[in-house]
């Protein structure tokens, strides 16, 4: 299929997860993404290993985040490299970065400057905490954002210490919001022709992730979220909402009428909870009764009683059980991609289908600077219009002066 962004060029200065996860989505939607990386080391996450897994000389994380992209190595403090980058910006639709505030300004790659080179550019930036306030210069790192924003008091049981969520979810949410903003500006550009500036921060995204619980906190007289003593799955929800141990595994049960549940699983004590308001008020008692009862039989026994009655329940699975479904039922959850040197690996796919088709791409992760030659000869040598060239020279002078001053 013709992917929707197949005529879009994105120049991506970001590293780690938040920004690169956004440009991965743009790539999967069809955009050409050129990753600008510093020579020799590149994106730091190339060598930020998780566990001990190395794949073809880079971390598994880097491969997951940066497949389907090109890599252009450039030293942004070197005037010659910088002028090539500016020529690339002249051709780009999107420029994006996730440096700390002030870095792109010092390099002469801020929105106001780049607009002079490319008036319709759409410029996306991710910060940790916005560009004002006391946290401005604090590192925008996922766990720190989880810690500061109150998020660690939502998961786990009441007797546990604060429990972080075991995925870099603030990074991922922030990247998702950047994509939304960039795409919204592309929609607008198709109507008005104008570019735009999109700003997101991990702090704002951490609040948005908690929009339900924060709104509750603002309006319930500022009560802190109360995790239940056992089987907590959401501090704001009544019983039976939670994960329960069975004789051979775990079972999750979502919102359901407690008295009806009691009848279905033959648990007399639960049938007396007929008032829906009581399912929140007496949730500790209900959960205690339910967890003792569910221990007596296997997960499959309970599922056979509950699923036909359309009770919202599910077995708790590992990835092995999840991924086994792929081969058993021919559901497409993963894809194979190939790097330029022939190295192949299996990874996940874009979760969005368009006109019934999955958006797959066989293009693997780029080696550092693998596309410099091709980009130099194809993108940067043709004749830019005379006026644009002049502007470029003008801007270049300022930038070069700045860089020299900085050095």
């Amino acid at each position: 299929m013709n992917k929707p962004l197949n005529d879009i060029l994105a120049v991506d200065f970001s590293q780690f997860l938040s920004g690169p996860s956004a440009s991965l989505r743009l790539a999967d939607l069809g955009a050409r993404v050129i990753k600008i990386e510093r020579p020799e080391t590149g994106d730091i996450s190339r060598h930020m290993y998780i566990s001990d897994v190395q794949m073809n000389g880079a971390s598994s994380v880097f491969h997951a985040i940066n497949r389907n992209k090109e890599s252009y190595a450039a030293d942004l403090k070197n005037p010659e490299d910088l002028s090539k980058i500016l020529a690339l910006v002249h051709k780009a639709d999107i420029v994006m970065h996730n440096f700390r505030p002030g870095v792109m300004e010092r390099l002469g790659l801020d929105y106001e400057t780049l607009k002079k080179i490319n008036n319709n550019i759409i410029y996306g930036e991710i910060s940790g905490y916005g560009t004002q306030g006391p946290w401005e210069n604090k590192p925008g790192q996922d766990l720190l954002l989880q810690a500061l924003s109150g998020m660690c008091f939502l998961s786990g049981n009441a007797d546990m210490a604060p429990v972080p969520m075991g995925i870099s979810l603030v990074d991922i949410a922030t990247g998702g919001h950047l994509v939304q903003g960039l795409l919204a500006c592309l929609v607008r550009r198709a109507v008005t022709g104008q570019g735009g500036l999109v700003q997101v921060s991990m702090l704002e995204s951490a609040c948005d992730l908690q929009f339900e619980s924060l709104t509750c906190y603002y309006n319930d007289g500022h009560q802190l979220p109360q995790r239940t003593i056992k089987n907590n799955a959401n501090p704001y929800l009544g019983a039976p909402y939670g994960i329960y141990k069975t004789a051979d595994g775990y079972l999750s049960i979502a919102m359901t009428a407690v008295d009806k549940l009691g009848i279905l699983i033959h648990c007399q004590k639960l049938t007396k909870y007929t008032d829906p308001a009581g399912w929140f008020t007496f949730r500790e008692q209900i959960k205690a009764i339910l967890s003792a009862h569910l221990l007596t039989q296997n997960t499959s026994h309970w599922l056979q009683l509950l699923e036909p009655a359309d009770i919202w329940c599910a077995p708790v699975q590992s990835w092995r059980e999840l991924l086994a479904e792929q081969s058993l039922h021919n559901t497409k959850m993963t894809q194979m991609v190939t790097m330029q040197d022939g190295y192949q690996f299996e990874t996940t796919c874009c979760p969005i289908r368009l006109n019934g088709e999955l958006l797959t791409s066989q293009k693997g992760t780029p080696a550092l600077g693998q596309d410099n030659l091709r980009i130099n000869s194809a993108l940067l040598t043709d004749n830019a219009p005379e006026k644009a060239k002049n502007i470029l020279n003008e801007v270049n002078k300022d930038v070069v002066n700045n860089v020299i001053k900085d050095v």
Binding site: P4, L5, I50, S51, V61, A64, P134, A147, G150, C152, S155, V163, P164, M165, G166, I167, S168, A173, G176, L178, L183, A184, V187, A190, T192, G196, L197, S201, L203, E204, C207, E212, C216, N219, L224, P225, A233, Y236, G242, Y250, S252, A254, F280, W312, A314, P315, V316, Q317, L322, L323, H329, M333, F345, E346, T347, P351, I352, L354, N355, G356
Partner: protein, 377 residues
């Protein structure tokens, strides 16, 4: 100008995943019209957290459905259905999150609507897609967390599976639906053709775990191993985690273990730190032993000037009282029909330096039928 001004979105959605997508489109400037059954409206109106209501609707419903209009119609009544079809002819986007087959039975499947409006972008959320053994299973957040393996990533080694304490599947899937719809609108500007956009909660949670599932697919199929104490990420090495101090908790991200060995005076780990992953539990235990002797502020005063990545673990009282939170201006007020005000969060995206606020509350069921009839039908 808000980027999506002049776009009309019809939202046939309930609860969280679809309506959260509608909310984002509304905040970015679109006119979002909820299509609801007369009388009771969508199910989310009665779904309350902590039994909290504002008027007839739960506060949760207001949180997710502010800044929208409501048009009530009985989709099984031919007269009402005719009006809905007229609305579809005027709309740019339609989204729904019914189980597979429901919209088709109503004559409002993608192909039906494309015949009415060839430029329509049709967005659809299901729980598990339309193939595989789960396709008719309810698409509910906690169930998806359980099925997707996500609940084995949080908590400590000996804990049972620990779900994320917020509706992460709904949230992420709503984000993906917005992305798909916007990209389809970009394509439409070139082709003038409508498009079907499909997302499902399961694919969204697999995508959400893309780093760690890719690792699992390439490490011989090992399962995640959570740290014994203070786990914050099953795949990251010491000291990544949460530690008790004498008066609270401190989160520490990736750090130079040599620095911590010296600063915390724990020479006993100096031979272990060569492999911060294999020796994670022993290193974290030693760090925990040192950190609990002093207050959180004591450690922050030492670590922050050294650019050590750490933060106080705050609760909502501490977070919302902090000047860093206030500087973000993340709160906004919506005004209910009776004049009461309700505080909620705003859209996290700024465009051209502008914050998008709107005082418009969630609509009453059918609250805009009269207004929409003459202008749209």
């Amino acid at each position: 100008m808000a980027p999506l001004e002049n776009l009309i979105v019809l939202e046939f959605c309930q609860y969280m995943s679809g309506p959260s997508a509608g909310l984002r489109l509304a905040d970015l400037g679109a006119t979002v019209i909820k299509i609801e059954r007369p009388g009771t409206g969508e199910g989310g109106r009665q779904l309350a957290i902590k039994n909290l209501f504002a008027g007839d609707n739960s506060i949760l419903f207001h949180t997710i459905n502010r800044n929208k209009l409501s048009y009530s119609a009985n989709l099984k009544d031919p007269q009402d259905l005719k009006k809905i079809k007229k609305l579809i002819q005027k709309a740019d986007v339609l989204i729904h999150n019914f189980r597979p087959g429901v919209m088709e039975k109503l004559g409002l499947g993608f192909q039906d609507t494309l015949a009415l409006n060839p430029r329509l972008i049709y967005g659809e959320i299901t729980g598990y897609g339309k193939e595989g053994k789960w396709k008719f299973k309810p698409g509910q957040d906690l169930l998806l967390q359980s099925i997707s393996g996500l609940s084995w990533l949080s908590g400590n080694k000996n804990d049972p599976p620990v779900p994320f304490g917020l509706s992460i599947a709904d949230y992420i899937c709503g984000t993906h639906l917005v992305q798909g719809i916007l990209s389809a609108l970009i394509a439409r500007a070139k082709t003038s053709q409508g498009m079907l956009v499909e997302v499902n909660l399961l694919s969204s949670l697999i995508d959400f775990q893309f780093e760690v599932i890719t690792t699992h697919l390439n490490d011989g199929g090992r399962l995640p191993a959570r740290a014994s104490l203070g786990n914050a990420h099953a795949y990251l090495s010491a000291p990544y985690g949460v530690y008790a101090t004498s008066d609270g908790h401190l989160a520490m991200a990736m750090e130079d273990l040599n620095y911590l060995t010296k600063t915390l005076d724990i020479p006993e780990i100096s031979t272990l730190i060569q492999d911060g992953f294999a020796n994670r539990d022993a290193i974290m235990a030693a760090i925990a032993g040192a950190l609990k002797k002093q207050t959180t502020q004591h450690w922050l005063a030492i670590f922050e000037p050294a650019d050590i990545w750490c933060a106080q673990v705050q609760n909502y009282h501490q977070f919302t009282a902090h000047p860093g939170y206030k500087a973000m201006q993340m709160e906004q007020e919506i005004v209910l029909p009776d004049g009461r005000k309700l505080t909620t969060t705003r859209c996290p995206i700024r465009i051209d330096g502008q914050i998008f606020n709107s005082p418009q509350p969630a609509p009453e069921v059918g609250g805009h039928n009269q207004k929409l009839d003459p202008t749209l039908l």
